[in-house]
């Protein structure tokens, strides 16, 4: 169960997610190393958000495996075996020996996976503390000041003393150039400022990876730059980031890996130079010709 390569932060194996009959994720495989900046691009509705949300369990995947920092935080492989068993039973004549083999595997997996599920249900809040998320719509808490927005989670969840939390928040605010807004309420801020605060709020929990779901898509064009600058600085500081974005400039200049998602799977993955200079997937070529 343990991941030996300690440089790997996140490993996703064959992740599936359905909404009703619609299978949004159809087997996503991904490995993210510490310090990676992964840009995910792809047409609207292809499952990018769903994939990010599965990583911190805002959505529960149906099957597959998620290994975070060497710990298996999600595992459900038995659905396939179950389906196979059912298909075999449906036939009049089938290999009884093979059936017994699969059945034994199914039973042992079931036990293991139940244990993982239980651990996950208990540890889900702890898991989320290690994974920061930045939303398209910012989702700042409107009833709290900027400072309170940032310090709420560290104080409540990590029991950080108030003065220390405030000090840390002010330091982070200085980094994004918004220290004068500490006591303002979110409704007084521009979109770009709100998103910078949302990034700071996530950073205040000192997460091991930050997920961005189209962080600049809700912004007026003139505010996109200020948010991308903050993200670029973060990337330079060594933060591990997974960024769903339509900003091809960011994917090219800042990311070290670019991923094209379509039809619920990862169609292509490469370094930015190769990805944009020499795309292979037909749909990717078509997509790039539209957005570039």
């Amino acid at each position: 169960m343990k991941d030996n390569q300690n440089n790997v932060l996140l490993r996703v194996n064959d992740l599936h997610k359905k909404f009703g009959k619609l299978e949004v994720l159809q087997g996503v495989n991904l490995e993210v190393n510490k310090g990676d900046v992964v840009a995910i691009i792809g047409p609207s509705g292809c499952g990018k958000s769903t994939f990010l949300r599965c990583l911190n369990f805002l959505e529960t995947p149906n099957s597959g495996e998620i290994i975070f920092n060497g710990d298996t935080v999600f595992k459900n492989m038995r659905v396939y075996l179950k389906r196979n068993l059912r298909a075999m039973r449906a036939q009049k004549e089938y290999d009884k020996e093979l059936y017994a083999q699969i059945e034994a595997e199914y039973i042992s997996l079931k036990k293991e996976e139940k244990v993982i599920e239980k651990q996950m249900n208990k540890g889900i809040n702890l898991h989320r503390q290690k994974i920061g998320m930045v939303f398209q719509q910012f989702n700042l808490f409107p009833h709290l000041t900027i400072l309170q927005n940032i310090t709420l989670a560290p104080m409540q969840l990590k029991k950080l003393p108030k003065d220390q939390a405030n000090e840390m928040a002010m330091e982070l605010l200085k980094k994004v150039g918004l220290e004068d807004k500490a006591n303002a309420y979110p409704s007084t801020l521009s979109g770009g400022q709100k998103q910078r605060i949302a990034i700071v709020r996530a950073l205040a929990m000192e997460p091991e990876v930050l997920l961005f779901d189209e962080p600049t898509s809700a912004l007026d064009p003139e505010m996109v730059g200020e948010v991308l600058n903050v993200m670029t600085e973060l990337a330079k500081s060594g933060m591990t980031m997974i960024v769903v974005t339509h900003e091809m400039g960011f994917a090219k200049e800042v990311a070290n890996r670019v991923i094209f998602m379509n039809d619920g799977v990862i169609k292509e993955e490469n370094s930015p130079e190769e990805f944009f200079g020499n795309p292979k997937d037909e749909r990717l070529k078509e997509f790039l010709s539209k957005v570039l």
Binding site: R128, Q129, Q137, H143
Partner: protein, 230 residues
């Protein structure tokens, strides 16, 4: 003029004011504590009702809450008072002062209404708020208490105020279970002097002042909350 003299004589000289203030206090106690109990019940029910994927336990609890809401919203306040004071409470051997009984019954009644009000308020809070709270690592209940409910309550403050005012006015029926409230205290004066005009005018004015005072207070609170976010 004679009417007023009779009233004042009874009110001051014969000690009618003692009952009046006692009645006023009881009315306030029943309304305020009834509201608080109702608020807590309402928060719990509304929270259970919006849990996304309920397990069997919560599904059953949810059904029980539905029955509770239907019962308390589907019967008159007076009937609830009579039923509980004369039938249910004696049956379970509950022996407490009538005022405490009234607080419980009004709390239960108000809880049924408050649950619906709060649910509306919670539903009006953007779903992204819950997701942001959860993504930081807060549990469901923690997110409710720290992030969702403060916003929901702000949304429904005017409605809550109306509920409180309605509750104050409704307390006037507690004399059915022998609680000395505001209404009862002035009724007593009227009955013993055979002079009805002044006592009932005073009664009406007292309620009016209470209600207007609370209305002003709520307006003030709303303004302060609104200013917070400008």
């Amino acid at each position: 003029m004679k009417n007023i003299e009779i009233f004042i004589e009874h009110f001051i000289t014969y000690g009618g004011y003692k009952d009046y203030f006692k009645g006023l206090a009881n009315t306030a106690i029943i309304a305020v504590f009834g509201l608080l109990i109702g608020f807590v019940i309402g928060c719990i029910i509304a929270t259970v009702k919006i849990i996304p994927r309920k397990n069997v336990f919560f599904k059953i609890v949810d059904k029980i809450f539905d029955v509770y809401i239907a019962l308390f919203r589907g019967t008159p306040m007076v009937v609830q008072l009579l039923l509980m004071h004369f039938a249910l409470f004696p049956a379970i051997g509950l022996n407490i002062p009538s005022v405490a009984e009234a607080v419980i019954i009004f709390g239960l009644n108000s809880g049924a209404y408050m649950a619906e009000i709060l649910r509306g308020g919670i539903n009006a809070v953007d779903i992204g708020q819950m997701e942001a709270g959860r993504s930081l690592g807060f549990g469901f209940v923690q997110t409710m208490i720290r992030i969702i409910l403060p916003q929901a309550i702000k949304n429904i403050l005017p409605t809550l105020g109306n509920e409180f005012i309605a509750l104050i006015k409704e307390t006037s029926v507690v004399s059915f279970i022998a609680v000395l409230d505001l209404t009862k205290s002035l009724q007593n004066i009227a009955n013993s002097t055979y002079e009805y005009f002044v006592p009932y005018i005073v009664l009406a004015l007292t309620y009016l002042i209470l209600v207007l005072g609370i209305t002003a207070l709520i307006k003030l609170m709303e303004k302060r909350l609104a200013r917070n976010e400008r």
